[in-house]
């Protein structure tokens, strides 16, 4: 899955497909990562690939949203930066929460309590402060399982 438009760009690490890697779980976890900073995006992508996740990266929230709408059920979790021009992480989170059932993790270099609070009250399942360690990313699969479990019971 590779697409680009004039306003933003995204690229994916591998072809899409149903995630049936139960045996190697959480390997193959399908992650969409959104950050307008190319340095951060490159580091995240490498870290996520090192965790054996399938990574798609976007540098704009609008692009991320259209990708999610066009490819429903092809992602397990979204990781998004908070402060981005045009649409920010909070708005993206609101759209995702109202239109689909995906866990969203917010990340930011902004550690101010009121911003973190906003993220949590808007429904982010986690809020990570940059720089994010790879050990933290190794645990994000728990949010996917938690959400699925909550939907089942």
């Amino acid at each position: 899955m590779n697409s680009s438009n004039g306003n933003g760009s995204m690229s994916t690490a591998s072809s899409s497909g149903a995630w049936n890697g139960r045996d190697q779980f959480p390997a193959g976890l399908r992650v969409l990562v959104v950050d307008d900073d190319q340095t951060c995006l490159m580091v995240f992508e490498k870290m996520l690939k090192t965790c054996l996740y399938q990574v798609t990266k976007c540098n704009k929230a609008e692009t991320a949203l259209s990708v999610l709408r066009e490819h429903k059920n092809e992602f397990d979790i979204v990781i998004s930066d908070v402060h981005m021009p045009d649409m920010d992480g909070f708005e993206l989170l609101k759209h995702i929460n109202s239109e689909m059932d995906l866990p969203v993790i917010l990340i930011s270099a902004d550690a101010r309590k009121q911003v973190v609070m906003k993220g949590v009250t808007y429904g982010a399942c986690d809020y990570l402060i940059k720089p994010v360690r790879i050990e933290t990313l190794k645990n994000i699969w728990q949010h996917v399982v938690r959400k699925k479990a909550r939907n089942t019971f």
């Binding site: 190319q38 340095t39 951060c40 580091v43 870290m47 940059k130």
Partner: protein, 149 residues
Amino acid sequence: MDLIQLQRQLVDYRTSLYHEGFLDEQFTQLQSLQDENNPDFVVEVVSLFFEDSERLLNELSKALEQQIIDFKRMDAQVHQLKGSSSSIGAHRVQKLCIVFRNYCEVHNVEGCLKCLQQVKHEYGIIKTKLESMFQLEQQILNAGGSIPV
């Protein structure tokens, strides 16, 4: 200089960068992400950081020259610089960005100008040091050696 000496020089240089607070453990994380499939990962990420930083520093300079200063926009730019410097472990630049943001928040022009000078200075230093380090690494590779961890 022979290979062993070059390798020792690199280790010493790298250690000093950590001791003097130029780099923090995030840089170590980057190095651990590099492997045979991505042998130039660190250089590539750092190059992106240089590109982003230079653009942001230029924009910040221009912003502070305006009659009416857009502190909100400046704050967003400093925030971005803080994020990218933290993601490569450029510790001193990151710390300065925190101070810079505080001045933006209270619309302190003098404070912002001072911070910008300091950030430019620290950025210049870390850029030179990282480029020297990469050059040393290349010399080692050219001599047929491997980069010590």
